[in-house]
Amino acid sequence: MPMLSRQQAGNFLANLGLRQVDRDIWAGQQWLVGRIFPVFVALREAFVEIEIPLNLVTQCDQILLHRLFNEINRQIAIGKFAIGSEIDHGGRMLVLRADLPVGTDEEYITEESMAILFAVAFKLIEKHFPEIENIFRQGCQISGASSEDQARGILGRLRIFHGSEEEHRA
């Protein structure tokens, strides 16, 4: 199991069909659970990371989703489901990230470790995406609030909506 240098690790990704899109980042796509997911691989100084955006954008508190992520993340050794950075149109993309630490630039990582990382990431999507999507579709929940508070929250949002409708008409 020879160790690849960081440069060779990049060549390995290129041979897999990924395209270099930045100094340290390669991009591709993968067909999983009946849909296509973008796949980004970053060869950082301290770690290799696969990031797969789940194509689900959260725009509010989704407590059930946060709970599910924590439950899954606790049970798995490599990989984590998480809420990514804010995106241009508002909201945050849900993501899967799978990382492993690396050695040095000269003895960076093995092909085998990279293959394991891809396999784990794809397996995690196959196993957990349907449940994540299902819970995501349930929408927003208000943290720790009573049903009365929740109703008030919904009424408030309806008023905002009604207001914006009136503004729109005006």
Partner: protein, 160 residues
């Protein structure tokens, strides 16, 4: 994970030595406690390393972060957001409310190099330092705005 020779305790301790680290025996066999000075908190962080005890394929590097028994919804949102911005480290809360930062390092000899341990330790220290002020917001303020607390950490603004 393919079959192969796993790292022995002696080899792992050899790595600690090569990296210039001190260590103590842990509470269980094949576990160690490594003290690291935290400049941010002016304290010593106790990192737990296990040689395949939690998962035979990996060396576990774990740092207890804090107790998060109150406002659990806020804490879980904070973790989901932090895990989306932090590289390598994963932060979770268990049923007892213990928040821990984790990194797994391949344990098979052919896949392992000592600097991987250094990167793992740096990542858990960084992860814990990053999340603590956000969790403080959750624990001290019932109406904590987690996203604002996260933004403040990312921009290096005042601590929440």
């Amino acid at each position: 994970m393919p079959n192969g020779e796993f790292l022995t305790s002696e080899q792992l301790e050899g790595c600690f030595r090569a990296l210039g680290w001190r260590w103590l025996s842990g509470p269980l066999p094949e576990t160690w406690i490594l003290p690291f000075r935290s400049a941010e908190r002016s304290t010593v962080e106790m990192i737990i390393v296990d040689n395949g005890q939690a998962n035979p394929n990996f060396i576990g590097v774990i740092l207890p972060v804090m107790k998060g028994t109150q406002n659990r919804d806020c804490v879980q949102k904070a973790l989901a957001l932090a895990n989306g911005v932090l590289g390598l480290v994963k932060i979770c809360i268990d049923n007892d409310g213990d928040v821990t930062a984790h990194v797994c390092v391949p344990r098979q000899q052919g896949l392992f190099r000592c600097p991987m341990l250094r990167h793992a330790v740096e990542a858990v220290l960084l992860g814990a330092a990053f999340i603590r002020p956000i969790l403080d917001c959750c624990l001290k303020d019932e109406h904590c705005d987690v996203e604002a607390a996260l933004r403040s950490r990312l921009t290096g603004g005042p601590r929440s």
